[in-house]
């Protein structure tokens, strides 16, 4: 538990908390304010989400978060992408984990624009992310700025299509 809290505080220092407040009227006509988190760290139920901490961040936080995670003994498990075509955005998800007496799993989600998607690379801090970023570029077309070699890793070398986009037609 202490690990989760300390990591939450560490990440909250990097990612400032932002919420959007929306007002809805319920059945009696009373105004209810609901807060949705736009940016920030939240603790989630591990049994439901599979992670202890869920971080919504933006592209300028990616490298500071990676450095903080590396200093605190976390390793990157996976880097993957999601195509939110209806929002005209793509999302890059980083999974960090630390397996010792106090395990803690962190998911960092970053939303980027869908046309010309770009995000800084973390492969200089976590070398294991090198191939994950290559795979994400292969399947979504997300450009990782500063990556040494974004050639196709699973698709043929001359492939010019990105299969996991929602509007991909083979």
């Amino acid at each position: 538990m202490a690990r989760i809290e300390s990591t939450e505080q560490l990440l909250a220092q990097i990612v400032a908390r932002e919420v959007t407040v929306s007002e809805t009227k319920d059945k009696e006509g009373e105004v209810k304010k609901t807060e949705t988190l736009v940016q920030g760290v939240s603790t989630v139920d591990y049994a439901k989400a599979g992670v202890n901490l869920d971080v919504l961040a933006s592209t300028e936080h990616v490298v500071p978060i990676a450095e903080a995670m590396a200093e605190n003994g976390f390793f990157v498990e996976a880097v993957t992408g999601v195509d939110w075509i209806k929002d005209d955005q793509m999302e890059v998800i980083y999974d960090y984990n630390r397996m010792d007496k106090e395990p803690c799993r962190v998911a960092v989600r970053v939303r980027i624009a869908r046309s010309a998607p770009a995000i800084p690379t973390i492969s200089s801090i976590h070398p294991g992310a090198n191939w994950h970023e290559r795979e994400t570029h292969d399947f979504f077309g997300i450009k990782f700025q500063g990556h040494p070699d974004l050639s196709p890793i699973l698709l043929p070398e001359d492939a010019d299509f990105h299969p996991l986009l929602k509007d991909f037609k083979p």
């Binding site: 699973l154 698709l155 043929p156 299509f161 991909f168 037609k169």
Partner: protein, 173 residues
């Protein structure tokens, strides 16, 4: 690679050809070409329980120059296909190909309308001699495939076919 009726080489040895074919069939050296899950079944067939050694086929050679038969065991992706063709071309005559598993026969479970990465069958670019269906085929099925290939080479089957369903498992050739 020809049958008994079609001359397969310029020099015909006559009866010696039959002996040569028998020798080739009884010592088919496969190439280790396990691409995916069927490789596990192929390894299992080479193990002690199912034992390919009794057919002379236990010697899996990693070099294509030393092989007779290429058992394509697994899914062929578009990225892997040029490598498969290169290795097939490097094998010396006489050579045969066994397509093991549904992926090597027709793309298997990966043949669907949005398929972008899997070559739908080894016979798209290789001449296949024996097809072994299954996902994955059992090691006994791989042995049956090798016996079928031996039958194709020599014209005679090594062991008589066992008739399923007859009482006591009657055996007839």
């Amino acid at each position: 690679m020809g049958t008994e009726k079609i001359p397969s080489s310029i020099v015909q040895f006559g009866v010696l050809d039959q002996v040569l074919n028998l020798a080739r069939a009884n010592s088919l050296w496969p190439m280790t070409f396990g691409l995916a899950c069927c490789a596990i079944e192929m390894m299992s067939a080479g193990g002690s329980r199912f034992d390919l050694a009794r057919f002379g086929a236990e010697v899996f050679r990693p070099s294509p120059r030393q092989c007779d038969v290429m058992i394509v065991a697994g899914t062929i992706t578009h990225k892997m296909a040029p490598a498969v063709k290169t290795l097939y071309d490097q094998m010396s005559e006489p050579k045969w190909v066994i397509a093991m598993g549904n992926c090597a026969i027709s793309g298997g479970p990966f043949k669907f309308e949005g398929n972008y990465s899997v070559v739908e069958g080894a016979d798209q670019f290789l001449p296949v001699d024996v097809y072994i269906p299954g996902c994955p085929p059992r090691p006994e099925a791989l042995i049956e495939g090798l016996l079928t290939l031996e039958e194709k080479i020599t014209g005679k089957r090594r062991w008589p076919r066992r008739d399923a369903g007859k009482q006591g498992g009657a055996v007839h050739g």
